[in-house]
Assembly symmetry: D3
């Protein structure tokens, strides 16, 4: 079994020192479940075909929260996130909204807390949207689903920056 990396030898909280670590590609997927009454789930489903829907709000809340993880979790490092995706599966079999949050980064620390924070805040936002329906909603099974770490791709610096501009003009 490992050790508490957030406690020093005297039991005092500290951030793990990552300043000498090499950059690595990191990826983490977290999941969570929001349990509700079947009628509430049915309503979310019908709202989701309307223009401004419950899940769009929750998806953005999850993405934005993942980017701010280091402000919320005291000993987390602030990192440059490469991608966040939050997805929902409306599962009528057990009357739940199942949430998946994927975070990718190239850096010195893992991104599981970012994925978990994204999933948690997306779930809280589903809760917030549905609480006026009078349902007793429960958030369950918030956990890491998958985590990967691999060397970064070889640096192939674009020799021709202008030609590279077309597909991702936005970047």
């Amino acid at each position: 079994m490992g050790e508490f990396t957030h406690l020093d030898s005297e039991g005092l909280p500290k951030m793990v020192d990552v300043s000498d670590k090499a950059d690595t590609r990191r990826e983490a997927v977290a999941g969570g479940t929001v349990r509700m009454k079947p009628e509430t789930l049915r309503r979310i489903k019908s709202a989701s075909v309307a223009k401004g829907d419950v899940l769009a709000t929750s998806r953005l809340a999850g993405i934005m929260a993942a980017k701010r993880t280091s402000e919320l979790i005291p000993l987390c490092h602030s990192i440059s996130i490469g991608e966040v995706r939050v997805d929902f599966h409306l599962d009528e079999s057990d009357s739940t909204v199942k949430i998946t949050a994927l975070v990718k980064s190239t850096g010195k620390t893992g991104v599981e807390m970012e994925a978990l924070t994204g999933a948690a805040v997306a779930a809280l936002t589903v809760y917030d949207a549905c609480k006026s329906l009078g349902d007793e909603i429960v958030i369950d099974d918030l956990r890491l689903v998958e985590k990967r770490k691999e060397p970064p791709p070889p640096v192939t610096r674009s020799r021709n920056p202008t030609s590279d501009d077309t597909p991702d003009a936005s970047l």
Copy 2:
């Protein structure tokens, strides 16, 4: 059953208008559970008697997150929180840390999202502290436990502000 108060008649997301509501005393308690291996729980317990411990960090993370709920949950109102308390119960019978977050406020909107956000971030911080132990931790059963709303106390403005200064000089 109620309606989605966060969707207008066209299904677009909106904040509920509370500007004409009277101030009311609000209180909400949320709970959540962090499941882990017995060995992990045992370690938290022993770390908790050390000077800088897992639960102190999680408690502060929960309190600070509750104060920032309106930045995380898109359609939540920003409110003046009167009190936040985050408590932990280490339950060896099922190898869990049980979290309770209490939020009090006097204002125009309820505080259940603040309590839930406090409990969720406290749980995520327990997760963050324990993930290096290699355990598969799961956050479960995050839900509202209790909610109260009552008229505010009659305004009895202190006639004698100086004499009132002694006990709460800090305020």
Copy 3:
């Protein structure tokens, strides 16, 4: 003509002192226009019928930014916002997205900066979503549309808080 209320007699920046002002109901509406190519507007329109759309993202960005106005505009007071609404009108006649942001509050200061900030950030988010289309987008005509100030409603404290709980259980 008035005076710079944000400069003191020596020309130094200061927040206006509002601590002795009575609470008043405030409302402000700001507008802004995002100009683009007709093809870009047509695409936004078709994206808007899909589940996750450009305008839903921009609406939430505007609402969330309005709540954080006092962090962005140095001499703005932090206030309790009662409601924010951000609306869009896709105007094919001049190939624009017209944005309206409404903010309501009961407090000591006006909310025009909150409405303007909400409209500005909603417009920037439309820009962000469309920039990959290669269009030259321009944000124009960001201005106050309307502002109101009136005494707050008489305080009619709910004598019967429980019966009041049904319609807005969420609050």
Copy 4:
């Protein structure tokens, strides 16, 4: 001598419960001193007559930080600040910049932490501006200077909101 109001009977950190307190006018003034070499002080002085100066930056940093005190100090309440003023006195007699931060509010808690945070961040910003001069700068004597608490003024709600609009149209 008083008690730690931020520790409960078991020694656990908590926010003080202020939800039942009456609103009171609060005012606090904090001071701080930045010590430097006479040459550094002379340079700040000459920069201060230029258009963008060291003290203007530090003043705004102090004002903006005072508004965010509750995000920085874990057990502070978030409050509505009525006014913040940050002032500087360049004292050649002992080669210091003396900082004063005044905060006013009408609410349930005092504002001394807001005044102290404003003074501290203003001092840090002076430091940041001057560190490239190679001086060994020290921030000293950061403390509460004055604190007042009095009943709020009687609520005289403006009967005639429109006529009241002229002088402070901006509010």
Copy 5:
């Protein structure tokens, strides 16, 4: 014409995945215009020679907002900004303040949203400062002026860190 990079194949909002992109030097310049009455412009001009002026406040607001772009624009990546400059031109010919915001970075994504956000918040802060003068101010012509992307300079790690310390001791 390009595609919406912020919508996936199902039309759901997502952040663009940049985790495999090489670091590139990026630069973007955004511009904006604040239209006002000639008298208001004249007053800003005279205030600008005073110690604490309208434009110094707006400049800092723009710089600070550019650094926080990823918190405001939901699908923007958080990046390390290398430089922000905000400049103003008081143009009496058409009674406007013309704003330019330049942002530089070395990273995986462009910085045009950072430049636009800086210009927008600087413009809003000019508005905030001038609204008490009773003028009808309009923010116009907020747009990207220029954007560059080029390979980063060859990494020439300083072999002699101490000798490098003198000119930029502050860094």
Copy 6:
């Protein structure tokens, strides 16, 4: 003597351009002192053996504030912090709490403002905890203690990412 790197040739505030700088390992240690009555120090000491203590709260506040330095100090760059440590020494000889904040980073700018901000906010949080004891507390001697800059370690990308996973599973 150096120059104000935060003022351009016209005396206008600007961020220093670091976009072309090579990444370097940086380290800074800042110190500060909180002066109080002996009785207050004695109480902190006894509280520190309890479960939730004054110093644990202050330590976390300092760590979290160091991570947010660029939001507080207007012209600071946002950086990726590798490690933050905040330590306290209770010195009965002069009735003070002595604070040390260490920050490490690998990047383009130094971390002395991060270390100073961490020490300052830790000191303010000690103040906040003790102010209810009625003591006149003073924060003194906040200054840089040490600063280092050296080339980063050679990049030795882990060829075998899985075997590397065991010791720092948490990252």
